[in-house]
Amino acid sequence: MWAFIHKLGSPKWFYAISTRLQPWFWGAAAVLILVGSAWGLAFAPADYQQGNSFRIIYVHVPAAFLAQSIFVSMAVAGVIFMVWKIKIADMAAAMMAPLGAAMTFVALFSGAVWGVPTWGTWWMWDARLTSMLILLFLYFGVIALRGAFSSRDSASRAASVLAMVGVINIPIIKYSVDWWYTLHQPATFSVTSRPAMPVEMWAPLLIMVLGFYSFFIAVTLMRTRSEILRREASKRWVRELAGEVS
């Protein structure tokens, strides 16, 4: 009986909770990103070495953080789905993947553009950029695998397994790429690893990171709510809800 409630009650409960939580995260995301952008773009001091191109850090680093965190979240959701059979976790994982890929792309793009003023080239096989590129392929793999199955349950399980395998590999890939990079490019200037940053520089960065995380949570809540409606369309409460909204 409990299992029954657990299975069927959960999406409805999640829907109600997330409907209430969602505006807060949207608000936080908007405020944090606006404040962080204004501060980072206009008020933070220019870097003594890189000048104003340094301001790319305020989108590059949050996007890179998010890109990695989303993959880890996907794997955690996969574990929750596989072990406790909670479908909400899988819906969230499915909705996160494209956002994660988008964030990886942002990190790659901003990193590449940043490379022009710092290295004088659009692409450098920098350790961080290389890891990001591999992460992008991992995202593509998870998304493609999910799309390839005709049965939704199999698709969910396969994507969960791949996300778990991927998340075990990410640190291995990261360390091996770092090692490979130091071997081939000894003592090259790396864009983001620098001696202590003054507070006027890292405070906006922190705000931007928090803003990006809020944005991620808000988008995931919203899209998971949509996915609930899609998957549970035949359930009574969804039909009633659709009637109310209209």
């Binding site: 299975k7 005709s150 049965s151 349950d153 199999s154 035949s234």
Partner: protein, 214 residues
């Protein structure tokens, strides 16, 4: 020995369509249970669920009154499943195919038993030919030889009569009846009409599933 496979409130959804819902089953020793229904009604799916291959369903399975999750090992040790595909390697001879199945089932490596199982299904003289050179019906017979070779009380057979000639059908039908008489249990889908007997039960799966009844 006890032999009881139960399903409670079994429901399975495929592509937003219920194959069956609220299906209760109770299968005992000495029974032949024939699953019936039109194409696409979920016969194979039901057999796969009942043989523990599919996880994507609602409801509970019990093996000898214990939840299947906990008795899976014991259940598998009692099960012999024959699927749509015969599971016969074309590049191996019937003898080699059976040897693998023997080892997989934890049976002793016994060549004489393999020979007699093959001759019981009418494949005497074909033991050492690559299975790829046999006809479809003969390949199916290689798979059926497992029924003679591996002692398992619960048989789950998906369309076992496919591609088999008339004599073979009669022999197999007799084989199923004999298994049930000895206290075994057979779960089968087939388009072939089985002769009525007290041991025979039918489960009908209807389109849409609401009318799935015993």
């Amino acid at each position: 020995m006890s032999l009881r496979l139960q399903a409670r409130k079994l429901a399975c959804e495929r592509d937003d369509r219920w194959l069956f819902r609220d299906l209760d089953l109770d299968i005992h020793a000495g029974e032949i249970v024939r699953v019936e229904g039109p194409n696409g009604s979920g016969k194979t799916t039901l057999l796969k669920i009942l043989s523990g291959q599919l996880a994507d369903f609602q409801g509970e399975l019990y093996w000898n009154d214990h939840p299947m999750r906990r008795t899976r090992q014991d259940f598998l040790a009692n099960l012999l499943y024959l699927g749509h595909a015969p599971g016969v390697k074309a590049a191996l001879t019937p003898l080699e195919n059976l040897a693998w199945y023997q080892a997989l089932a934890g049976e002793p490596d016994d060549e004489a038993a393999r020979f007699s199982a093959l001759s019981a299904v009418g494949l005497a003289g074909f033991e050492d030919l690559p299975a790829g050179q046999l006809s479809a019906g003969q390949q199916r017979r290689v798979a059926l030889a497992r029924l003679e070779l591996i002692p398992r009380p619960l048989w789950v057979l998906d369309e076992p009569f496919t591609a088999i000639d008339r004599d073979g059908v009669a022999a197999l039908e007799g084989r199923l009846a004999a298994h049930a008489r000895r206290g075994g249990c057979v779960l089968v889908t087939t388009h072939h009409e089985l002769a009525d007997s007290p041991a025979l039960r039918r489960i009908r799966l209807g389109q849409g599933g609401d009318d799935a009844t015993l």
